[in-house]
Symmetry: none
DNA sequence: CATGAATGAGGTTTCATTCAT
DNA sequence: GATGAATGAAACCTCATTCAT
């Protein structure tokens, strides 16, 4: 059973082996598979995804997917890992700790919105994973152990804001984080049913910028005194 | 190809045909299928659901599903119709127009939360339908035409609140409605991945009541002046 | 999961339902599958057997095999059950208890030899099952519970022979039974390697009758005083 | 296509080529493959065996198996050759010709039993080969040409016993040899199904020694006057 | 001498759906 | 109104084998 976890590591660690010419192809192949899989899984869900389509899209022999990832489920896990690694890396680049409290919250809101907008696959993958009650996530120590430090950072921001007399007290940082995520995520995740039911194009540029304004106001209306 | 769209009506209208002893049975069978299908689709998603499982759970022969609903997709549509009918009926009983503006908003928040909590299948079904870009919804005039009057009601509430000097002006009722839904929906929809990643039980009673408090505060913090 | 154990029962119970016209086809189909499977499994072993070949030989759709038997392994179990049922039935018709002791033993030897000769599939199936350490047998209460009464019958025969002053005492009936089986089974089971190594045709009629004479002499030489 | 038949010879002859440092390694590698293959083939049969498992168990790259043995089938042949070579060597050390006739027969019975007991892979490999109608054996002049001289030796023993008035006359040495093998082989080969069906542990030490006593008595009961 | 990457053919199994009664 | 039998297409996965280095 040969399952190299390597590809995901590539997101966090920089590759330093210059003479690694032989592994190059393997790496590139795995990356191609992962990319194709991410697209297919996010497009069709876990049960709807087809290994054949992934192989074709990646331009590799179907057998190779099993060679590198073992099974459809393990490939799905690898995709999840990659997806979480991506958002963790992006979050880490935010540096909320160095901004003024209110700016930090606005920045977080904007970042969250932009990230979901730029990575629609994140949303559908998470929906799939929730349909499966996080069964795969709970199998991946890689994801679980890298617990996001964002909540702690946000707690610090909130505390600073409260001390500055800007923010209300008693805000649970996790609740706030989830709420920010909610306001951005749901709009995008449910855009199709919402558009259908309310007969309104929610995705045109104007609607998107209006949404960001709105959720910023909602969040700031809550945290600011 | 004999496809009776009738079964869904059964939710709103009772069939009264006098010579309908056999029709009663037919009705009961269709309801059993619908109930089983709702459970299966919400549990496994559209591609994950199995016609065999639905038939077994409903205690009917598989062939009957085709007899009454035509195909898996049409059965899914019927389930969606039923689900939307349920929430429309519940919303209609809210009577926001007769409450004080701030009470009306609080009532809407609480209702939304309670409804999602009481109908977890609503969430997973909508996620499935969004995965499919609302393809089925857009095939169902039944759902689309019964456009929710709630947005108009909410607009009236907001206008009353603004006139009373309670609410801020310029609130888009649809944005607010979506935000309220977001704050409730996302927490429940993504409970499994959130619980896994943050290692916290989000579903225990205390957590649930805290969440309702939180989202109420967020919404009221936004609308109130 | 629909696995009718019925076909095997047919060996022991006589079918009495005259109006069972509808089930006829199902029965016939299952029997056809079983027969084809027995041939394929005995010819190729469990791993060597192909579901496709079985379906083709039985003249049925491959899917039907799963419909009736669930999986390749369960089909193999059904074949084993049938095979054991066949020999049990044949043994039951021997009536050793009513023969003179020495005749009874000769009869058992001859019967064993003839049965193995007439049912070569019995030998290869048992070899397969032993390769798998009786994994399937141990899953089949049907086989295990119908413990052969032959050992008890043979014990009675041996005791009668001893009392008559014909047989030596202290013979373990199970050991003897296994030895009789050995002498017949091994010759047939290993005929191909033996023929190759000793360059002699062991299967020509003359060789077969000589073998039966030989094993009869061996067994009688042992039991007779 | 480079297929060295050498490795099997290694069992009997030691290669002594002076400049053979690399050859030593090659030899060791081939032996490792052979040992792993013997285990795998005897455990799973020919179709059940996996080249991957063999490579892993031998600790060598899969490609090497093809380099040294050409194909799965040829590897199987090599294993068979090794197995037959082992028993021929052991038989040669028996020296039945120098023992008293009755001792010689007892010795042969005991040897056969002990050899099968000590080499369970011999049994399963032969069963596999018989399933394949000795197809591989017949391709191996190496095995066929080293025809066992045991039958002739046994013939001499029987003749001596007859002349001494100890043994009955007219015993076919090949029949007797096969019978001795039968009595030992079948018990061990079919231990799993026998144990299951008769619900008795046939492999515990007491059972084993009883079996040897029994088969010795059976054989001696037959040959002795 | 040795190896990791790659493959095509084919294996078992699944599934929505239809036939015949 | 209801059902058990049957199916074709396609899904996931496996395996012996070869390529390229």
């Amino acid at each position: 059973m040969l399952v190299q976890p390597a590809p995901n590591d590539a997101a966090t660690a920089t590759r330093l082996d210059p003479p690694a010419l032989r592994t190059r192809d393997a790496d590139r192949t795995q990356q191609a598979i992962l990319r194709a899989a991410m697209r297919e899984f996010s497009d069709k869900g876990l049960s709807g995804a087809r290994i054949d389509s992934i192989a074709e899209a990646a331009g590799v022999n179907k057998r190779l997917i099993y060679y590198y990832f073992g099974s459809k489920e393990q490939l799905f896990i690898a995709v999840l890992e990659q997806t979480y690694a991506d958002i963790r890396n992006a979050e880490a680049a935010l540096h909320l700790e160095s901004a003024a409290p209110d700016d930090a919250v606005r920045k977080l809101v904007a970042f969250t919105w932009q990230h979901y907008l730029a990575h629609p696959e994140f949303i559908t993958l998470l929906n799939s994973e929730n349909l499966h009650r996080a069964r795969h996530l709970n199998q991946s120590p890689r994801i679980l152990k890298v617990n996001s430090p964002l909540i702690q950072t946000l707690a610090d921001v909130l505390e600073r804001g409260r001390r500055d007399g800007l923010f209300r007290g008693g805000i649970d940082p996790l609740q706030l984080y989830i709420s920010i995520a909610s306001l951005a995520y749901f709009y995008l995740s449910n855009q199709h049913t919402l558009s259908a039911v309310f007969d309104r194009d929610l995705i045109k540029p104007k609607a998107l910028s209006e949404r960001l304004s709105h959720i910023t106001e909602v969040v700031m209306g809550y945290v600011l005194l």
